[in-house]
């Protein structure tokens, strides 16, 4: 407690009297829009360098290269080179701004009322990142950037202060949300769906707004290639994309989309660019004693469960991830009451489920 009080006191003092740069920091202001690590393509070990892409809320993109877990560990342990030297080495590897998403810049300057949503995701090719930036102003205009960075080039460009322009970019727009057919046009949410196998030609951008889920191949975002919209009975809150193992345990990885509505979680499976099945209400989240879900996530490959957090309670919902199969009965297990809506247990590893 003493340490916490000390930390808060020091931080507050520093914040009040030593603001960085010419700008005044504002507590509660949105500083970052999104960030994503670049997965390593080789076997994971502590010596692997890693890369990180960060977007701030004004659309500036930063690329961090050669983040070494080994150096971080050494700096923490104080072994090897002096800690100050190691930290200085790490900071030198942080590249400055590499791109500017113009739409976001314009949005922050001219459309103060517009909310901004960013989705950044490294694709399974491990050579590029797709950034989907959208302003939610009733029309849900979208700026899509495809930023291509070769891994070897990225590693070689780690000099501090060296601006690295994106190798290739693409801008597209999604058709505006039809306000008359949706509720809450300011609640659109987007998700990037990764490829599940190499045979799938497209990655997918999904948009949920009101009660509909729409998707497009990305990039480019071709409005004419939009799939048929699927609907939920109640307004949807989020779309989250991911990949998980199928229910039969054969190890197949399936890309899919989870949509959270006010009182249900639905999972949409993707076959190429087509949602082949929408499992409505695989789990009823809302009940008399529970409020709407706070958040939800889909597992990385190797996991098969989807968990949803309601305010105060956690429920585990098993997703059925095979096309045409009957909807699985949700496995609901309330394990403990939570003090606040701030906890999400993600996925249960298959090996744990097998043991049980």
């Amino acid at each position: 407690m003493l340490q916490l009080v000390t930390l808060v006191t020091i931080s507050t003092f520093h914040f009040l009297f030593f603001p960085s740069g010419k700008h005044v920091c504002t507590l509660g202001a949105k500083a970052f829009g999104a960030m994503s690590f670049v997965p390593n393509s080789g076997p994971l070990n502590s010596d692997q360098d890693e890369e990180l892409v960060v977007l701030d809320s004004s659309g500036r993109m930063f690329h961090f290269s050669r983040l070494s877990a080994r150096l971080l560990a050494e700096a923490s342990a104080g072994g090897g080179a002096p800690k100050s030297t190691l930290l200085a080495s790490l900071k030198r590897r942080m590249v400055t701004q590499t791109a500017q998403l113009d739409l976001l810049k314009e949005a922050t300057e001219e459309a103060a009322s517009a909310s901004i949503q960013l989705v950044a995701q490294w694709l399974p090719t491990l050579t590029r990142v797709v950034v989907l930036a959208a302003t939610i102003d009733g029309a849900a205009t979208v700026e899509s950037w495809e930023v291509c960075m070769d891994r070897s080039e990225g590693n070689a460009s780690g000099g501090a202060g060296q601006a690295q322009p994106p190798r290739c970019t693409h801008r597209g727009t999604l058709p505006p949300i039809e306000a008359q057919s949706h509720e809450g046009t300011n609640s659109a949410s987007f998700a990037l769906v990764p490829q599940s196998t190499a045979s799938l030609p497209f990655d997918t951008v999904a948009r949920v707004a009101g009660t509909s889920v729409e998707w497009w191949a990305a990039p480019p975002l071709d409005a004419s290639a939009a799939g048929d919209a699927v609907s939920s009975e109640s307004p949807v809150a989020w779309a989250l994309a991911g990949a998980w193992n199928d229910e039969n345990g054969n190890g197949a990885v399936i890309s899919g989309l989870a949509v959270v509505s006010e009182n249900a979680v639905v999972a949409a499976l993707l076959d190429g660019t087509t949602i082949v099945q929408l499992q409505a209400a695989t789990a009823t989240v809302k009940s008399e004693e529970e409020s709407a879900p706070c958040t939800v996530a889909i597992a990385a490959p190797g996991f098969r469960c989807l968990e949803v957090l309601s305010l105060g309670w956690r429920r585990r919902c098993t997703t059925q991830a095979s096309c045409g199969a009957p909807a699985s009965k949700p496995t609901t297990k309330t394990t403990r009451r939570l003090a606040s809506c701030g906890f999400l247990r993600l996925m249960i590893p298959r090996r744990v489920l097998v043991r049980s």
């Binding site: 931080s11 500083a31 970052f32 997965p39 994971l44 999400l344």
Partner: protein, 87 residues
């Protein structure tokens, strides 16, 4: 009702609450006991685990990137973004 910052690493899940405390949980622990935690000096906006799972990067609302080790130790904070005044 905004989505909360979360991130899943190969071994740990990162969960953030409104008071900007980062908790790490062993994803193989069915009892979901809390792992080490760290206090970030500003509200957390994003969390991302490294692919190796040995550290996480926590973006805070004051424009800082906090490098947090698996052990829950805050290694250092890198000021990246100058947050514009809301005035």
């Amino acid at each position: 009702m905004a989505a909360l910052p979360i991130s899943l690493g190969p071994r740990l899940g990162a969960i953030v609450d409104g008071s900007a405390v980062l908790n790490t949980y062993d994803i193989s622990d069915r009892n979901m006991s809390s792992g080490p935690s760290v206090q970030i000096a500003a509200p957390v906006e994003h969390v991302a685990w490294s692919a190796t799972g040995t550290y996480a990067v926590v973006a805070d609302a004051n424009g800082g990137l906090n490098f947090v080790l698996e052990s829950g130790k805050l290694l250092f904070r890198h000021a990246l973004v100058k947050v514009e005044s809301g005035v």
